[in-house]
Symmetry: C2
């Protein structure tokens, strides 16, 4: 049995997109006033990457980590340039946690993720920033190309990713990358000055790209795996569950059909209790039926979308 090729040494860095639902909003854990995702070294004495990630996240946040999933591995030269030429491979993870965590040092904090991607929040209808800022700038970028073929290509990409009529909430990463390419986000840096960047907070390095990857993955996943429950408290009302899914997907859902889908699939069971916190009629409390994960390959919460708010 031959040994595999001997590769050259580089450094490994782990990045985490840590998501929690706080005050019914999707929040990510950040450092440096929201400009960095938590990241740490992979220490060689861990048996796997996941245990390494769990170790420093839990050390940093003093809180156990729930669901964890690998996102992507980058090793772009552009990253290395920022760190004195040493090659860095960065492996990013998505982590879901149920409760508020507080980190030690580095002034950490939870940030609403729509702070970074305001055009992704359609819960209140079409976001204003889209019509007022994003689309006009993209159109200017299209017109800036002299070659008509290039113009056509740019227009098609804009139509696919940003068309209002057929908005696809899963394309978070593609949209961010298009804006990057168009020089409309500060991270694009260098050549293009980006005198007047779009609304949406930037981050250092490629952390906003990693965040976009995490949001996109999570939005896709809730449709075919019941991962929302990793973010919910043990007991919840169906209304709260709907708000949670809406917060993640960034779009309003159709109430009646959402409820039907949820209990048709047997995802939840009544606890017997009620919650009178919401103002109207008290709502029954439910809990996630963990057993279902073992019973069958279960689908997530399909999204019963509604066009008009």
């Amino acid at each position: 049995m031959p040994s595999p090729a001997k590769p050259r040494a580089v450094a490994i860095e782990l990045n985490a997109v840590l998501v929690a639902l706080i005050d019914e909003e999707p929040q990510v854990l950040t450092l440096e006033d929201g400009a960095l995702l938590p990241s740490g070294p992979f220490e060689g004495d861990h048996p796997t990457l996941q245990t390494g990630l769990r170790a420093w996240v839990e050390r940093q946040t003093h809180h156990p980590l729930g669901y964890v999933e690998q996102l992507y591995t980058f090793a772009d030269r552009s990253r290395a340039a920022a760190t004195s030429g040493r090659r860095i491979v960065s492996i990013s993870y998505l982590g879901l946690t149920r409760e508020r965590v507080t980190a030690a040092g580095h002034e950490p904090g939870w940030q609403n993720w729509y702070r970074y991607f305001p055009w992704e929040d359609w819960r209140g209808g079409t976001p204003a920033v889209l019509a007022r800022q994003v689309m006009p700038r993209l159109r200017r970028w299209i017109d800036a190309a002299s070659d008509p073929a290039v113009r056509r290509g740019r227009r098609q990409r804009m139509d696919i990713n940003f068309a209002e009529a057929s908005w696809n909430e899963d394309l978070v990463l593609q949209r961010y990358e298009l804006l990057y390419e168009a020089g409309l986000v500060p991270e694009a840096g260098g050549r293009r000055p980006t005198t007047d960047p779009l609304p949406g907070a930037p981050m250092h390095y490629d952390h906003r790209r990693i965040l976009a990857t995490g949001i996109a993955r999570l939005r896709a996943k809730i449709k075919y795996r019941p991962v929302v429950f990793e973010l919910m408290p043990p007991d919840f009302t169906l209304g709260q569950l709907q708000l949670a899914v809406e917060a993640l997907a960034g779009r309003p859902l159709h109430k009646q059909n959402f409820r039907r889908l949820i209990d048709q699939q047997g995802l939840v069971e009544e606890t017997g209790g009620v919650s009178a916190e919401t103002g109207g009629r008290p709502a029954k409390l439910y809990r996630f039926r963990r057993e279902i994960l073992l019973e069958r390959a279960v689908a997530g919460s399909k999204l019963p979308l509604s066009r008009s708010s």
Copy 2:
């Protein structure tokens, strides 16, 4: 702007699951008589991981590589043990290629992927190996647990992943990992002797796990992205296209509905030519409409499954 944490140095290795359709069968490129996937070092002078991968694959195979997609990054300690204690991070990729490629050195070759996973081929009905070998051994493994709770857990996992009635072709990796855990594949090694392993060729290191990851990813992907065409010749008949999808998915499809789905979605256009190679009535030739990738976020070939062959 602070610099990120300085991680410790390790070695990077790239692995490729290179897939082609040869003689209407799904084949993967291997070395060492089918026991290894092609792998190579990541050389630091490449701008990205993908270009690094493309470079050595093309150097080794003398053939350009088509579609490429990252699969997963592993850094399990068990791998390192096999290579004198040095820590290795292995980043694996799925690559699709349209034509026969021949590699230099290391006696490479294409292998039918069902050689490694015979229970995954349902094109001719339920595979014999499932009823005759896999299920009985899994049942013995279930009964081997003394704790009834453990037995119940094992039974549920078997039911989810291997139930004949609700076979899910995407669960290739989960099924392999269950067999690994049950000690039914030689790679499980060490403790359990595995006196009489299951049919299905083993591979060195965790290469069979990586292959399972690639097959699973590809099977899932053909349902929502038109990637089959990366494996087809420029012109093809709808019958050949169906055979291709069946080969990848490992199950028979419903002819009429497959055809309807394909052209309803506008994925192909007629070339005008016909092929008289198949014995019966000559079939029209089609080509993939590449433009469609730009026109809209296009779905792949949904699988119109048929229960009875």
